[in-house]
Amino acid sequence: MDASTRTKSRSKKPQYSRFTQQELPAWKPILTPKWIITSFVIIAILFTPAGLLCLWASERVVEIIDRYDDDCLPDSYSTDPDSFIQSNNTNKTCVRTLKVPRKMTAPIFIYYQLDNFYQNHRRYVKSRSDKQLRDPDEADETEDCKPINGNDDGPIVPCGLVAWSLFNDTYKFFKGNKAIDIDKKDIAWESDKKYKFGSNVYPKNFQNWELIGGGALDESKPLSEQEDLIVWMKTAALPTFRKLYGKINTDLEANETITVVIQNNYNTYVFGGEKKVALSTANWIGGKNDFFGISFLTIGGVCFFVAINFILLYVLKPRPLGDPSYLSWNRNQGAQ
């Protein structure tokens, strides 16, 4: 009995460890004005050149944008654009001329830009079947595509609203009377072509529905080669978006005039959307993108401004670091 009690009643003194005694070594930063001023100045110093660099890169990009939806609507149909665009008998060809402001070096990218087109609408985004696009054996996986999933002839490939509403305006470019070649290859992301769209999946039963949404597909070409479709199906984040149409591999000189012949097929009139065609060069920052440059510069400027202000305050209203008289209980005493 005694022995057992003795072993039981050993010391309950806690073991020392830095963790349990909460004495882990730590860095204790104090946000002094020096720190603030230094960091703001450093940010200002780093951001200003970065902003200039971005802005410079963006400025070097030449971009031509032309909105054509209204202008390509014949006056006779201006009150009823719907019947114009839905009719098979109207002449939808439209000619636009563009002036090149500065020299554009190849490759020049052709984009179409849609506005007020909700590719990111929940109903739209999910109305596709990635399985079907990849694998010919999964052509029946059309659950998400409803109502554009299939009919008596079998499932639609590619099914769903996204594919169905494929953009189908076409552009031809002429320099004088000479046509400019448009390279439609390699406009989609490599990964999409390789993995997401099968090289042995062929369009089937497409645009056979009672309503025609947009472009048709060449049933003899596998989906992985239908780059327009691949580009279209990478849904955009915003209702205003740009998609790559093709590339021009020749330089355009400054002040050259180029003619664009547009087949105005795509119906944006019904929902008041806009259609634009854009020509743009690109460099490391991508297309024309002032946002980064302006942000960097603005932030750099703000930081510089704040730093100056802090220095002024530091001078005008100094507070000695660690002055006990600033402790609230000492202040209160002083007040009495």
């Binding site: 004005p33 992301w189 920052i285």
Partner: protein, 1222 residues
């Protein structure tokens, strides 16, 4: 043979009324007494006959306190989890996400919910596992059971009703037993019931005379009794039943019952028969769940969550209205007018669109309520309490080998906000270590010591008194007396040796102490109801009057030096009557007969009552003695007057008749006994008086001073009398002479005069009026002083009687407002109930956070009433500790508990909560902004998995690290600048202002993250001119978000340890690892290959640099400006001590090294074996021994007002303080 009867009578008769009826009629010869109404019928136990009892199907002795078993764990555990509103909310969301209205896949909500549930269930399982192990240890501990004429050791769980068991000394009773026999003469045994009611004095149980012989196994095996008794119930102090032995029916009562959970003392072993087993034992029937307390911060958090829910609904409303407006069939490419799978976007029915959109958006925005918040907080608090509080070396008391113990982890941060402390005095502020310090015999004062209070008073007056270190001081626990004139028989040479002799005899005879252990002066220990008594008897021993044995009728005293120096002689005194102490009588008397037939009444009691009853004459002595009493009182000593009276046999006999009559009366017995006592307690002769020192706990005054500098107000609630309380308050620096003192006492002449008239109604009315007037007068004066410019501090002293009236609903508000304007309040002579009432008054009335600290059973009420209950552990009974939330060994550890742990916990929890709030709001807001761009369709911005793992992986760990490790200033500075604590009291770190500021930054950051990611992505983003899709952009945005949110956490930290960097870095890294793998796994998702695509763009890198910096710039600026222009106190302290290296373990040395001689002396005392006893108000209040005699005569012991603790305290553990020191 008797089986059929047993099965009928003993079974659970409540379920079959027929059986009850028949059993009652069949045993019509036995009338059972008061059968508990809740359990009709009775049970019959056949002792030593397992077969007969078997048919009755009594429950086994195994107990189980687990909440779950293997089968019920999942359903019950899940049910418990879903009782939390937050979990239920997420369950609803998860269910919603299975419907077509959901924009997100079920994974999004199911994964976090399952993870949270999983963690909670694992925690539950772990706790239940520990309970199970605890049960198993108890169930498997062994007890001797009679089998085949031998004692066989079997585990408790195998024990059955009717078994005969043997329990050895210090052993616990395995079940409720009927005491049959004991090794002590007269079938008496002693039990300690500390585990049941916290009383540490020994209780006597006595077996029926008929069964005394069944001690040996051979004899016991012949025992074939039949016990008929009440059904199991939870009343600890009642028991009715009969023992049918050899056709004789003998009534049994509580005196023969040994309850499970108690243990045997001072008895070699006992033999008993099992009556109730397992869950039917009285202690188990009393098991109750202590209502769990929730911290104020958590309740505040609930409000914030509710607000968030409101914000969520607003967001949904906006989105739903937008959705209803947006849907239009002109968007032909959306095919909205074709009724697809749902009506959700049908433009012809915009109301349906609106309603369904609300559900859609709720699902989408659900992360605004942080799902992992509660489980994270629980985890943090659990580690804080088990790893930090329980292991703090600063709070380890080596003398009693007691570390601090957080019994709940719910209230850690509550400790950082305490504004009012309610403290018990005895045992908490003072040691409850009574030392016989001085005495006065026949007008001569003896004892040369100086009390701490006197020293304190001297110091206040600027004197510096060095304590004389007397070499010849007799040192023993309870005896700190230094005067050679009385020691070693020297008293024989004093002027009045006869008086001395009476003095010593009075000390040795007039008490209710039980001796324990070997009958030598060194080894014998005294078990006393109050430590004062033990001190007095110990004093008698040291003076040569060694009380060593008592029987119900005799007291044995070994007297030395009486006839001549050195002669030792054993003397017996017959105890004829004991007139018990109670709070009205304030005195206690014993009538004893000397060997030579001399009849003497010895009396000791409060000076006021003794003086009233002294025989006339000898005024000189009375006057001197009174002066000495006052001196002792001033020195903070507890005084008692001793007196005696010689009785003639005739006087005694005639009185004794009246006494017996009164004792056997059935109505008003108490009052009648008091009246009879008055008849004999008169014409007393004053012998002298004793003075006992109640020593202050170590470090109490400085602790109190520190706490009051921290803005904490300390109230002392004590059962002691006003004078003592005031003295202690002075000694503790609670009151000083600069304070304005308001005293509201019932001990005024006016009240006494009314009281002497005896009309209860008049007294009540008079006191009420007086209290009302006093209160109002004081209140006015207090208001005047508070609004004045003197800045004088106030203190209030009020006694229990006045408090009773002041707590009256009419006066309560005045009392509250008066006491809140006082910096210290002392309530004396208060009952346990009043302690709880006062606590509740401040808690509810003033809405302040309260803490109660106490050590005894009388503090349980206030400990439970306060927000935080703290028990003093290590020396007293378990009662207070069992009711408390935190247990510490010393009052002074409150500084560490509150100023260090509490403050840090508060600070950390505030950070954790606000961070959770911030990160989820930011996340959800980016999602919200996106809604505007998607035609309000509820399209999600992020991938499902991003959203589900955001809370549980990418931002989970760092915040827990902060919750554990962040500290603004280190522990020693926390104590050096107690004022820092005020910010917790003011709740400076988690209020609507803080939340609002945070929300603003959240909005700002979400706007930055979302817009920067979106706005910069509109054109081609590579030199190949390719365009990014929605999933690429959202991945980039999410990357920025994870980086921003994690870095924001670092900015909130006061200290950055390795773990901070690892966890923050690890979280960001985890995101990248995740996305690198994830974007390769799911080919069919939009996120396929995104990160690789993004990495080929400058966009990602520019964004990842720009966004976190821009987003955090605002916070950085705010923090910098706040620190510079409106610094918090802790920030100043950080600055003052910025160059000091962290003092590792330095604080620990302080305690050990700088011992003043005085402290050393105190340590020496602390090292002495400690009395385990309980103080309840005045020195003699707890009838232990007498109650036994009273119950012998049919008087049941009064039921204690407090409840009974759980069996957790029953864990067999080392009880002996003597061995625990090594």
């Amino acid at each position: 043979m008797k089986g059929w009867r047993g099965s009928r009578q003993g079974g659970d008769s409540a379920s079959s009324p027929v059986a009850v009826e028949r059993s009652l009629t069949s045993s019509s010869s036995i009338r059972l007494g008061r059968v508990q109404p809740q359990a009709p019928g009775h049970r019959t136990v056949f002792c030593n006959d397992r077969d007969a009892n078997h048919l009755a199907k009594y429950k086994g002795n195994a107990v189980s306190t687990t909440k779950y078993n293997v089968i019920t764990f999942l359903p019950k555990g899940l049910y418990e989890q879903f009782r939390r509103v937050a979990n239920l909310y997420f369950l609803t969301i998860s269910c919603l996400s299975f419907t077509p209205v959901s924009p997100v896949s079920p994974i999004t909500n199911v994964i976090p919910l399952s993870l949270v549930l999983f963690v909670s269930l694992v925690k539950e399982a772990f706790e239940d596992w520990k309970r199970l192990q605890n049960d198993m240890t108890i169930n498997n501990s062994c007890v001797d059971v009679l089998q085949e004429q031998r004692w066989e050791s079997i585990p408790w769980k195998k024990l059955q009703v009717g078994d005969i068991v043997r329990v050895k000394q210090d052993g616990f009773f395995p079940a409720d037993l009927l005491l049959l026999a004991s090794t002590n003469p007269d079938g008496v045994c002693y039990t300690e019931t500390a585990n049941l009611d916290g009383e540490t004095n020994l209780k006597i149980r006595k077996a029926l005379e008929k069964t005394w012989d069944y001690v040996a196994p051979e004899k016991a095996s012949e025992f074939k009794g039949e016990i008929q008794c009440e059904q199991p119930n939870n009343s600890l102090y009642t028991f009715t039943g009969n023992l049918i032995l050899q056709k004789q029916t003998i009534p049994i009562g509580p005196n023969q019952i040994l309850l499970r959970g108690c243990n045997l003392r001072n008895t070699e072993y006992i033999v008993g028969a099992v009556i109730f087993t397992g869950h039917e034992t009285k202690v188990m029937m009393n098991a109750m769940n202590v209502p769990s307390k929730r911290s104020t911060l958590e309740r505040k958090l609930d409000k914030v969550i509710a607000t968030l829910f409101g914000v969520l609904l607003c967001m949904c409303l906006i989105g739903a209205i937008g959705s209803a407006v947006f849907v239009n069939k002109k968007y032909h490419y959306l095919e909205l007018w074709i009724s697809g799978d749902s009506q959700q976007f049908n433009p012809r029915n915009r109301f349906v669109v609106f309603v369904l959109s609300i559900f859609t958006l709720i699902t989408l925005y659900s992360p605004i309520i942080p799902i992992s918040l509660y489980v994270s907080i629980e985890m943090i608090k659990f580690i804080q309490s088990t790893k930090f509080i329980n292991n703090d070396l600063h709070m380890y008391h080596s003398e009693t080998n007691t570390p601090a113990l957080a019994r709940t982890s719910n209230l850690n941060e509550e400790l950082g906000q305490v504004e009012y402390i309610f403290s018990d005095k005895t045992g908490t502020l003072t040691r409850n270590l009574m030392e016989f310090f001085k005495c006065s015999i026949g007008g001569e004062t003896y004892g040369t010591g100086v009390t701490e209070i006197e020293m304190g008073a001297a110091r206040r007056n600027g004197l510096n008194i060095k304590e004389k270190t007397a070499s010849n001081t007799a040192r023993e626990k309870g005896f700190n007396f230094d005067d050679a004139r009385l020691m070693h028989g020297a008293w024989r040479n004093e002027p009045n040796p006869d008086m001395c002799k009476e003095f010593f005899r009075c000390l040795a005879i007039c008490h209710t102490v039980l001796p324990e252990g070997e009958e030598t002066p060194e080894k014998l220990r005294y078990q006393a109801a109050s430590p004062d008594e033990a001190a007095l008897v110990t004093a008698a021993k040291n003076f040569g009057f060694f009380f060593y044995r008592r029987t119900p009728t005799m007291i044995y005293v070994r007297e030395s030096h009486v006839e001549k120096i050195g002669k030792v002689q054993d003397v017996t005194y017959e105890i004829l009557n004991v007139l018990e102490f109670n709070s009205t009588r304030k005195r206690q008397s014993v009538v004893c007969r000397y060997g030579d037939g001399r009849l003497v009444l010895y009396c000791k009691g409060a000076d006021t009552v003794i003086y009233e009853r002294l025989a006339s004459g000898n005024d000189e002595l009375k006057k001197i003695s009174r002066e000495q009493l006052e001196q002792y009182g001033e020195a903070g000593l507890r005084t008692l007057c001793l007196a005696y009276r010689n009785l003639s046999p005739e006087t005694y006999e005639s009185w004794n008749e009246k006494f017996i009559q009164a004792k056997s009366s059935l109505r008003d017995r108490e009052r009648k006994l008091d009246e009879v006592a008055e008849l004999i307690e008169k014409d007393l002769t004053l012998i002298g008086c004793t003075a006992i020192e109640d020593k202050l706990q170590e470090g109490v005054p400085s602790c109190i001073e520190t706490l009051s500098r921290a803005g904490i107000k300390i109230w002392v609630l004590t059962g002691d009398k006003l004078e003592t309380a005031i003295n202690i308050a002075y000694a503790c620096k609670l009151i000083n002479n600069d304070m304005k003192q308001f005293v509201i006492s019932s001990e005024t002449d006016a009240i006494r005069e009314v009281e002497s008239r005896g009309d209860q109604v008049e007294i009540a009315q008079f006191i009420r009026e007086t209290v009302k007037n006093e209160l109002q007068k004081c209140h006015e004066e207090a208001q005047h002083i508070v609004h004045g410019s003197t800045g004088q501090k106030l203190s209030l002293l009020i006694d229990g009687k006045c408090l009773m009236y002041a707590l009256d609903p009419n006066l309560r508000s005045t009392l509250l407002s008066l006491s809140l304007s006082c910096s210290s309040v002392v309530c004396c002579r208060v009952s346990p109930l009043q302690k709880a009432q006062v606590t509740r008054l401040v808690r509810k009335g003033a809405n302040k956070i309260t803490l109660s600290i106490g050590d005894g059973a009388n503090d349980v009420g206030m400990i439970q009433a306060a927000h935080v209950g703290v028990g003093i552990s290590g020396m007293e009974g378990m009662q207070a500790v069992m009711a408390s939330d935190f247990a510490i060994a010393q009052f002074r550890f409150l500084t560490d508990l509150l100023l260090v742990h509490g403050r840090w916990s508060y600070l950390r929890l505030c950070k954790v909560v606000s961070y959770f709030f911030y990160k989820n709001l930011t996340f959800t807001l980016t999602q919200f902004w996106y809604t505007f761009q998607t035609g309000y369709s509820g399209q999600r911005f992020y991938d499902d998995w991003f959203q589900s793992l955001y809370n549980v992986i990418f931002t989970a760990l760092p915040v827990i690290i902060v919750g554990l490790l962040d500290k603004d200033v280190n522990a020693s500075l926390s104590k050096k600048y107690p004022q820092l604590y005020k910010q917790g009291i003011d709740n400076a770190f988690f209020n609507w202002k803080v939340v609002g500021t945070l929300a603003c930054f959240s909005v700002y950051q979400s706007v930055i993250v979302y817009n920067f990611a979106i706005a910069s992505s509109t054109t081609g983003l590579t030199s190949a001119g390719k365009i990014l899709g929605v999933w690429d952009i959202s991945t980039a945005a999410f990357t920025c978000l994870v980086i921003t949110v994690n870095l924001r956490l670092l900015m909130m930290c006061n200290t950055v340890t390795r773990w901070h960097s690892i966890s923050v870095g690890g979280s960001i890294l985890a995101w990248f690892i995740f996305i690198f793998i994830y974007s390769l796994v799911f080919v069919n998702k939009g996120t396929y290959f995104t990160i690789y695509v993004l990495m080929s763009t400058a966009y990602l890198y520019l964004l990842a640099i720009l966004v976190p910096i821009v987003a955090l710039l605002g916070d950085f600026l705010y923090q910098g400006a706040q620190r510079w222009f409106y610094p918090y106190d802790y920030q100043i302290v950080q600055e003052i001590h910025r160059h000091e290296p962290e003092s590792i373990g330095a604080g620990l040395l302080e305690v050990g090294n700088q011992l003043t001689p005085e402290e050393e002396r105190r340590y020496a005392f602390a090292l002495l074996p400690r009395e385990r006893s309980k103080h309840t108000g005045f020195a003699f209040d707890s009838p232990g021994y007498e109650s036994f005699f009273a119950t012998q005569q049919g008087v049941s012991a009064p039921q204690k007002p407090w409840d009974v603790i759980r069996r957790a305290s029953m864990k067999p553990k080392s009880k002996s303080p003597r061995t625990s020191r090594h």
